[in-house]
């Protein structure tokens, strides 16, 4: 524990700027993955343990599209759309078979998909790690704001995540389809009785959830290493985010992801040996004080 360093940091403008930006970038990428996870849970009550795999495959797809086209935007879109398709296939052929079944069955199917996909990645791309590399447009020196270091690429990532999150929130809140999805989360039988094709709806939810994870993988690919199994660590943190934010709450996921990002960012200065522990403590406190999470009462 280094409280002097922490106090020194929060009283220094440069440190606050640097660490806040750092926390936001960690949080926003986490939010994109967790948003898909919480959306799927909110509507289908499925805890998608394979969600980290969506992130991994999205990153690999983005890497491949980028390698072929040289376009980072196409790479990110490729990762997102590819995972939307994969989400539909995953839902239709696997998860839909265990709707309403014991959660253990869902867990087994998800875990099987994780292992299969990890091996497939090794077969297709090999066991080596990959790095997409920074797109030429972003190979620029960092900005210095109030003495703090702010990389322009991270500002782009934060903006992109905010736009995607905003579009998701608006889509769910204001569009007809969004309202149907929210209704299905509350009472799927009633939605079905109204003649709405819930099968299609559920596939759509998985497509959106997969797309969010794929976009996150693609967005992060220039600065993260691509390895088989890379989705696991992201999955763990995404679960913490969904638990803190409230299972099924997009707004909760956003707040929780940013809070976790800031905890990591400032925690590493004040509690360098206990940064991960701080995240779990935050989760435990929330579970004790408000077991449904910060925004747990909201359905979506």
């Amino acid at each position: 524990m280094d409280l002097d360093a922490l106090i020194g940091c929060v009283t220094s403008a440069s440190c606050v700027v640097t660490q806040t930006t750092s926390g936001l970038i960690v949080g926003m990428l986490l939010f994109l993955v967790a948003a898909g996870l919480t959306l799927i849970f909110g509507v289908l009550k499925i805890v998608n343990f394979a969600h980290g795999t969506f992130y991994m495959l999205g990153a690999y797809l983005a890497y491949t599209v980028f390698a072929v086209t040289g376009s980072y935007v196409l790479g990110v879109l490729g990762g997102g759309l590819g995972m939307a398709v994969f989400g539909v296939i995953f839902e239709r052929f696997l998860i839909s078979r265990v709707y309403g079944a014991n959660v253990l069955m869902q867990l087994l199917i998800c875990y099987a998909v994780v292992l299969i996909c990890d091996d497939l990645v090794k077969i297709v791309w090999g066991p080596d790690f990959y790095a997409m590399g920074m797109p030429p447009a972003f190979q620029v020196p960092p900005l210095f704001i109030a003495g703090g270091v702010v990389p322009p690429f991270y500002l782009v990532l934060i903006s992109a995540a905010l736009v995607i999150g905003g579009a998701l929130g608006l889509g769910l809140g204001l569009t007809r389809m969004g309202k149907i999805i929210r209704a299905a989360a509350v009472n799927p039988d009633m939605v079905s009785a109204l003649g709405i094709n819930t099968t299609l709806l559920y596939s759509l939810v998985f497509a959106v959830g997969g797309m969010l994870a794929g976009l996150a993988g693609g967005l992060a690919a220039p600065v993260r290493s691509l390895t088989p199994g890379m989705g696991f660590s992201v999955l763990i943190e995404s679960f913490i985010v969904t638990v803190i934010g409230g299972m099924g709450s997009i707004a909760g996921a956003l707040i929780a992801a940013v809070v976790l990002g800031l905890i990591r960012s400032f925690g590493t200065i004040g509690f360098p040996l206990f940064t991960d522990g701080l995240m779990y403590i935050a989760m435990i406190i929330i579970l004790v004080v408000k077991p449904s999470g910060l925004f747990g009462k909201e359905i979506v």
């Binding site: 360093a5 940091c9 440190c15 640097t18 660490q19 930006t21 750092s22 926390g23 970038i25 960690v26 990428l29 990890d118 091996d119 090794k122 090999g126 066991p127 080596d128 790690f129 990959y130 790095a131 997409m132 590399g133 920074m134 190979q139 020196p141 960092p142 270091v149 990389p151 690429f153 991270y154 992060a220 220039p222 600065v223 993260r224 290493s225 691509l226 390895t227 088989p228 199994g229 890379m230 696991f232 660590s233 992201v234 990591r264 960012s265 925690g267 590493t268 200065i269 360098p272 040996l273 940064t275 991960d276």
Partner: protein, 416 residues
């Protein structure tokens, strides 16, 4: 009295009969291959360890078999995946010997698995060569040492001594006093960093450590670690990160222009998978060699590099590759010398053995008898450039200095 020609004929007949009777035994002996159990990590995030180890082992085995085998018997490697779990490593090692009938173990595990295998070998008494574990205590600590187990890999303390000496030299020239470290948060990262700092302070007693960051192994995002280092404003940074974690750290550090702000020392940078994967390799990083086709800059090393790539779909060899190729060559030489695969006899032959090697500046490597560990391999530090050969100006280490300081370290650690 029978004619001489008839006697000869009878002897010939007797010899032929004996040969006929013995034929099945001879054939069985020749068809009874020497099974070598090879366990490593072939799945998960660090599958590259096992894959690039196997990529070096198999061509060596093929070479021996093509030349008629070992003691007239073909070698049959049996590969097993421990998935990086120590308890699985121990189970697999036992199974390879007891169930699969392996006479020799080539343990290509990471350190956590190697310590588990060591105890199995203590029990079974077979010849075992650890080919990937760099944790010094495996062979340095007499309480852990096993009579039939050897380490054919670089050793953490060797890297720390050479790294400390080189870094101190650079620190002298550039007047570097304030240091930061960033290493993976497990035994290897912490031990290696502590040893490096010990030797750096041995050469530069005025060294100050301003901050230390310990990211988790496989951590996807190093942003908070990087910004923490920036806040500490060190003059120099040491990192024991490696492989995919190192690649991510470099890419994320580039975003913050981290490596232009301080002198950086990363021993594991000089490994081809990292050098070729990092798209924007910062110039001027001080790096040790892990495996480089240009160090030692000999035609033997270059030829091995080309052969490896040809045999492995043009993949690059890793540090683990040369270690495992060397392990097979030591096993070959020891079994030939002993005339047996028996654990005790082969171990007696292997202890103190010196063989020719493309991975040494002297052209030879030795399995040191006193602690069963590899010495005289190529080790040195140079500076990165963003294009091949990626690391230049590599200064070979002085093995006399390494041995002297290693002995002091052993005394200090209570190993001598």
């Amino acid at each position: 009295m029978p004619e001489p020609s008839a006697r000869m004929g009878r002897r010939t007949v007797l010899a032929a009969s004996a040969a006929t009777l013995a034929a099945p035994w001879v054939a069985r002996a020749q068809s009874n291959p020497i099974k070598i159990g090879i366990q490593s990590i072939f799945s998960g995030p660090i599958a590259l360890l096992g894959v690039s180890s196997r990529g070096a082992i198999q061509p060596e085995v093929d070479r021996i078999n093509a030349a008629g085998g070992l003691l007239g018997r073909q070698i049959q490697p049996i590969y097993r995946d421990s998935k990086g779990k120590p308890q699985e490593a121990a189970r697999v090692a036992r199974e390879l010997v007891n169930t699969d009938g392996c006479e020799i173990l080539l343990d290509a595990e990471a350190s956590s698995g190697a310590f588990a295998v060591q105890e199995v070998v203590r029990d079974l008494g077979v010849l075992c060569v650890h080919s990937n574990s760099e944790t010094s205590s495996l062979t340095a600590d007499p309480k852990l040492r096993v009579a039939t187990a050897f380490r054919c890999a670089r050793q953490g303390v060797h890297d720390a001594i050479v790294g400390g000496a080189h870094s101190a030299k650079v620190a002298d020239a550039k007047k570097l006093v304030k240091w930061a470290t960033c290493s993976p948060d497990y035994a290897f990262g912490r031990d290696t960093t502590a040893q490096f700092l010990d030797f750096l302070k041995h050469f530069r007693p005025d060294t100050q450590v301003t901050t230390q960051a310990w990211p988790k192994l496989g951590q996807p995002d190093f942003t908070e670690v990087i910004t923490k280092i920036i806040q500490a404003k060190p003059q120099a940074l040491y990192s024991a990160l490696y492989a995919g974690d190192l690649s991510a750290f470099i890419n994320q550090g580039n975003v913050y222009a981290l490596f232009g702000a301080m002198e950086t020392f990363i021993p594991a940078m000089g490994d081809l998978p990292v050098l070729t994967t990092v798209k924007s390799l910062p110039p001027g990083i001080q790096s040790a060699n892990r495996y480089l086709p240009t160090f030692p800059d000999t035609k033997e090393n270059r030829a091995w590099y080309e052969a490896y790539r040809k045999a492995n779909n043009n993949d690059y060899p890793t540090n683990w590759s040369w270690e495992n190729a060397t392990a097979v060559r030591f096993i070959e030489a020891a079994v030939k010398k002993a005339g047996s695969t028996d654990g005790k006899k082969a171990s007696a032959a292997l202890a103190g053995l010196t063989i020719d090697s493309p991975f040494s500046n002297s052209g030879k490597v030795t399995m040191r008898a006193e602690d069963h560990t590899l010495i005289d391999y190529a080790i040195g530090w140079g500076t990165t450039i963003p294009k091949p050969p990626f690391v230049t100006g590599i200064e070979p280490a002085d093995w006399g200095q390494i041995t002297e300081l290693e002995t002091e370290w052993k005394k200090k650690s209570g190993y001598l």
